[in-house]
Symmetry: C2
């Protein structure tokens, strides 16, 4: 009874949310019976949810059992390369296909987000919304789907690069530049701006990571 989060969410959504919120961290073992009890359903829907998550590479197999997938340094780099390309494509397409209303929403988002520069958690959520809006602006369902996958994999990363000192402000300036390129209908510029934005985010993450590693003594 205490676990009735949303009116009715299926096991898949529940487990995804749990990973997203960091309740289960990369490397954690997911035991069917445990999840079943936690969410108050039987093992069957849990099994189905786990398999779906496995096909999206959010879970991987360790022997017979499933664990939350973790990204090593190489995989992180590979992920960012693909992400930059796809986000760049989304920006290019958005410049061509976004409606004036969609562009207006993007502009409003950038303006609203400026008021959150000091709240990394809120900024991170706003950031997700912003990028999602660009994806939708591309009016390409496959691209949206592929980018969803990419962002879901990124949920495996505990920290957000927006937590870095000063990165929030920078990121917002970059967002503004992207939106203006899209508003102008300049696809090349929009794609380049978004690729550069992703590249900076990756760079920031790498710096954060090496910092963390030093602090915790890995």
């Amino acid at each position: 009874m205490a676990e009735t989060r949303l009116p009715q969410a299926d096991a898949y959504t529940l487990i995804l949310a749990a990973i997203d919120e960091g309740i289960y961290k990369p490397g954690d073992r997911l035991v069917e019976s445990e999840l079943a009890e936690r969410f108050g359903v039987s093992r069957t829907p849990i099994r189905e949810a786990l398999q779906r998550l496995e096909t999206q590479s959010l879970l991987s197999r360790d022997g017979r059992s499933l664990i939350v997938a973790s990204l090593d340094h190489n995989q992180l780099a590979e992920l960012y390369v693909v992400r930059a390309e796809l986000e760049g494509l989304a920006a290019r397409l958005a410049a061509r296909h976004a409606t004036v209303e969609e562009v207006r929403v993007l502009r409003d988002m950038v303006a609203a987000d400026r008021r959150m520069v000091d709240d990394p958690a809120a900024l991170s959520r706003a950031n997700k919304r912003f990028h999602k809006q660009i994806h939708l602006g591309s009016h390409n369902r496959f691209l949206v789907q592929q980018l969803d996958l990419v962002h879901r994999s990124m949920a495996l990363l505990a920290t957000t690069s927006l937590a870095a000192e000063g990165r929030g402000g920078e990121a917002l300036d970059e967002h503004a530049a992207i939106v203006e390129a899209i508003a102008r209908g300049d696809g090349d510029e929009a794609a380049e701006a978004l690729k550069a934005h992703i590249s900076h985010a990756f760079e920031t993450r790498l710096k954060l990571e090496s910092g963390d590693r030093r602090r915790v003594g890995h």
Copy 2:
């Protein structure tokens, strides 16, 4: 007993193969109990397989039941845009990261495939292998995974553009150009050549489709 195709393949693989072979066509309804009987397992593993296929958008829901997804004209165009971008990226990365052995394999493939120009079915299989080899040459696991998804969606299309008169020869010339660009380590050229290749394939498919449509009187 008659259905024991491979020693042990799970339901997921079996259903995927059945869609691939055209046993189930876009729009066909997939009934759990039917599949269970056909493959000689109970409904449980079938259900799991169906859900996995649904998360990959190979199946879609029609009311409560699952049908094989079909691609309308818009979706086809959207798919090809994403495909061109990802394949282009793969070529670019392959130019940078492929080993000499991998390049040699690509060259051999092009040479071997020239002997099949008159067999569209064999050519189609060889084509899949060729592109897969380029994906692997990128040495980017995420990219390989994303491209797998794209190609799986393309399995929903009944015809191969290689069936068009003369397309086989053209495609092989384009393959050769791509391989040479990769061999030279010229990423930009490789990406452009592969994008152009995909673009031609799409064009051919569109011509084929309009022809088909005229013939069957849609």
